[in-house]
Symmetry: C2
Subunit: 168 residues, 2 copies
């Protein structure tokens, strides 16, 4: 396989993979493209590479920036804006974890706390099943939350380091 075939395959698969995880296909593809671009790219570069419209590129780039995965950069003497992606994949992973935690996990924990306050007789089978399940999910969610905090704070060798050794 030559380079441009491999690039195509990478970008397309990254997009498909993203879709399965609730991430806009084009957003994932733009991210993939920037990940493997040694130099910053303009919106026009991206439009051409992926054959998508200007509006599409613009919106998805802004979304990537809001996740801190992509940075806008203005080169001196250049009129256009350039974009680069964070290239350290560990940092990428922690940035994504940080955002999903903030946007999804934390609100979910808040909701579960509310739901556990349900006002009903716990001797009833239905009530017990409900509060047990909410309690279980709340507990596991809280643990995951703490664990992801540690991950975000930890260094890049978290996965390879003492954790893996311990669990062998």
């Amino acid at each position: 396989m030559n380079l441009s075939e491999a690039k195509q395959e990478f970008i397309s698969s990254w997009g498909a993979f993203g879709s399965q995880w609730g991430i806009n296909r084009t957003m994932a593809q733009i991210h993939a493209l920037l990940l493997i671009s040694p130099e910053p790219l303009t919106q026009d570069d991206i439009m051409e590479s992926l054959a998508v419209s200007r509006g599409n590129v613009n919106m998805n780039i802004r979304e990537l920036i809001s996740w801190n995965l992509v940075e806008r950069r203005t080169l001196p003497g250049e009129r256009k804006d350039y974009f680069t992606a964070e290239k350290d994949i560990w940092k990428v992973a922690t940035l994504i974890v940080k955002e999903r935690k903030k946007r999804e996990l934390e609100p979910m924990l808040k909701l579960l706390d509310q739901l556990s306050q349900v006002d009903a007789d716990k001797r009833e089978k239905d009530v017990k099943a409900f509060t047990d399940m909410v309690g279980q999910i709340r507990k596991m969610g809280g643990q995951a939350d703490k664990m992801l905090d540690l991950m975000v704070k930890a260094e890049a060798n978290w996965l390879t380091g003492s954790l893996m050794k311990l669990m062998r």
Copy 2:
């Protein structure tokens, strides 16, 4: 908040949460409903509770069964099939991890291995950027794969136990 309000909220939020993670809303809602139902339910029960069609319930139930999250059960003397969900949330988590690992992570690792074989001169900037990134992702993916294997094998206290203590 009374029980039925709380149930409604739980089911609806679980559906919304699922959507964000690429899981069909109705599938997530059916799962939520079964999670908090002390007794097995029929397709008709689910249709009524969630106000969705028979075909929809049937397809999503089958999908849940293929994830081993739901079990079909035929009660003696009863004509209809009944369905129950696994209620231990740790088991639920490991079942989901197991399936996503098999369906998504493993194929992705296979692809990355192929992509790393790209036939080109590594002194070229483009080539180096590409193979570096593929290599990084491959490495992290491989580590995640091992780690998730451990999680699947581990007991329910994995998150609270020595892991959390170690990382403090």
